[in-house]
Assembly symmetry: C2
Homo-oligomer: 337 residues x 2
Amino acid sequence: MNNDARILLAHGGGGRLSWQLVQEIFAPAFENPDLDTSHDGVVLGLPKSQLAFTTDSFVVRPLFFPGGDIGKLAVCGTVNDLAMCGAKPLYLSASFILEEGLEIEILRRAISSMAETARSVGVRIVTGDTKVVEHGKADQMFITTSGVGALLSDRRIGPKQVQPGDQIILSGDIGRHGIAVMAQREGLAFETTIESDCAPLSGIVATLLATGADVHCLRDLTRGGLASALVEIASTSGRRAAIREEDILVSEPVAGACELLGLDPMYVANEGRFIAFVSKRDVDTAMSALRSDPLGKEARVIGEVGSETDGLVTLRTVSGVDRVVEMFTGEQLPRIC
Amino acid sequence: MNNDARILLAHGGGGRLSWQLVQEIFAPAFENPDLDTSHDGVVLGLPKSQLAFTTDSFVVRPLFFPGGDIGKLAVCGTVNDLAMCGAKPLYLSASFILEEGLEIEILRRAISSMAETARSVGVRIVTGDTKVVEHGKADQMFITTSGVGALLSDRRIGPKQVQPGDQIILSGDIGRHGIAVMAQREGLAFETTIESDCAPLSGIVATLLATGADVHCLRDLTRGGLASALVEIASTSGRRAAIREEDILVSEPVAGACELLGLDPMYVANEGRFIAFVSKRDVDTAMSALRSDPLGKEARVIGEVGSETDGLVTLRTVSGVDRVVEMFTGEQLPRIC
C-alpha cells in the first residue's frame, strides 16, 4: 500500500481491500500475542472473575494537536476509564469509521500513535473493525475503543462510595487539553504553545491503589472539565463537595488563553488529570503516592466532602465567597475528544 | 425532551444536555441491574476466567429497512460475533456518534430497537458514550457496539481448528440483508418486499454447542457474504473448502433482484446466517440441532473440507464445473451494515 494512497469505500467492503488494510496497516502496528485478525472476535484469559468494561468514541478535530492526536487520545481515554474503575487495563478493541478519500498516511500515523500508547501501558489491542463511509459523510476519521480490565482490588470504587470527610485530591493543573485542541483548530497562537495533558493514568492509579489507601472514588476530567466531574459525583452520591479555588492549579498560559477566549478553566476538558476521593486518615499516604509519579507531582488536596446531603458542589472563591458550581449547559468546545 | 427535539452539539458536551440524554433516553431504554450511568465504566461478574471480546461499528444507510434497523443490527452484529467465538453474549457497550440536527425521535426508535433485541437474547447493555459532530460531518447516526461473552465450552472454535473431512453447514438462505437495505436505499420495488435476515444467532449456536457435536469453526456471513467468509477461513486454515452451488439456498425474490442488479448472491451481505465446520461423524447431530431452531430450519450441508493444503475455496456449479471462489475486490454494496 503506497503512502500516498487514499481510503476507498472498498476498504470497508469486507473483501480484498479490507483484508489488505488489516494485514498491512493494523496487524503490524498492533502486533501482540492476543491479537486475532482471523476471526471477528477474540478469546482472552482474565486473572479474576470480575472485570471492568468501558467504551468511548473519539471525534476530535483536528486529528493532530500539540501533545497528542486522535490515536493517543483513543487509547488514553479508554485506559483512563478503566483505571477510574480501579482496574488494570488489559485488552482494547478499536473500531474505525473512515471517510472515503482519507490519506492512508494519516491513518497510519494515528494507528502508530495508538500502538505506541498501548504498548507504553502494557495494554493489548486485540480486536477491531473498520467501516468506510462516502466522502462528506464523516470527518476524516472517528475511532471507538472499548476496554476490558481486571480489578486491582476487591474494594468498590465509584461515586456511591463517597463518604463525608473524604478529601478531594486533584492530580495536576487543569484545562490544557481543551485549550491545546482549540488553539490548533482555530489557528490561535499564544506566547507559549500549550500542550495537551493527554496521558494514560493507569500507572499512577495502580501506584495509588497499591498503598492500600482507602480510595472511594476516582474520576478522570474529560469533557465538561473539573466542574462537571465534581457535579456528577456529588449528585450521584448525594453528598456535598466543597472545593477551594485557590488550590486548583491553572497554568499561566492556560489562564491567559481562557481569559482571552472567555472560558472558565473549571469547565475546560483535560485528558490526563483526575480527582480522587480518599478517606481523611489516608490522605497523606495517597498524596505521597501521587506525587511520586510524574503525572501527579502537582497533586493537591482541593477540598472535602461535607456532611450535607444536598448533592451540591460549592466553590470557595479566592475572594472568600462560596458559590454553587453548576453543570454546564450547552457546549463550550465541541469535538475536543 | 420533546419528541420533535433535535440533537445539538451540546448533547455531546459532557454537561447538562449530555446528562439529560443519558437519563431520559438511554437509561430507561437499556435498564438492567448492571447498567451504570453514573460512571464511565462498569464492573461486571464473569462466570469463567476466559472471555470472548469483540467490536463492530455500524454505518448502515438508511437507518431503517425491511426486517431491521441500525439498532437491531448493532446488537445482532456484536452478539453474533461473540456467538461465533463459541461464547454466550453477556454484556454490550454502545457508543454513539450523532450528527447535529438528528431528530431525537429517530435516536429513540433506534435505541428502543437495540434494547428490545438485547432483551430478547438476555444480553445487557451496561456502558456507553455519545459524541455529537457538526451537521454535515456524519450521516445521522453511527453506532459502535462491543461485547463480552463467556465461553460455552473449553473447545477452541476458529479457522485454525478446521480439519480435513469437516462438513460445511450453511444455516439458511443467503443475500437477504444486502438486497433489503439496497432496495430501501435506492427506492427499488420488487414484487415481494425482501426482508433482511438480521437476527441474533446466540440461541441457535448455544443449541448447536449443547449437543456436544465437534464444531471446529463458526462464522456469520456479513459484509462480503458467504464467499468472503469461506475464503477467509480457507486461507487462514490453509485447507481447501469445496462447496456445491446446488446446495446453497437463494430465495426466488433475492435471486431475481440479484439478476436484475448484476450482483452475485454469494457476495451479498447477510446478518442472520452463519456457516459451521463440523466433524463428519457429528454432522447429523449438528443438523438436527440447527433445524430445531427457527433460524436454522433450512440449514444444509453445502460442502466439505478437502485434504489439499492450498487454502482455496472451490465451487462446483450447477453445471458440474469446478471454479475457484475469489475474495471480492472492490465494494459491491457500501454501507450495508
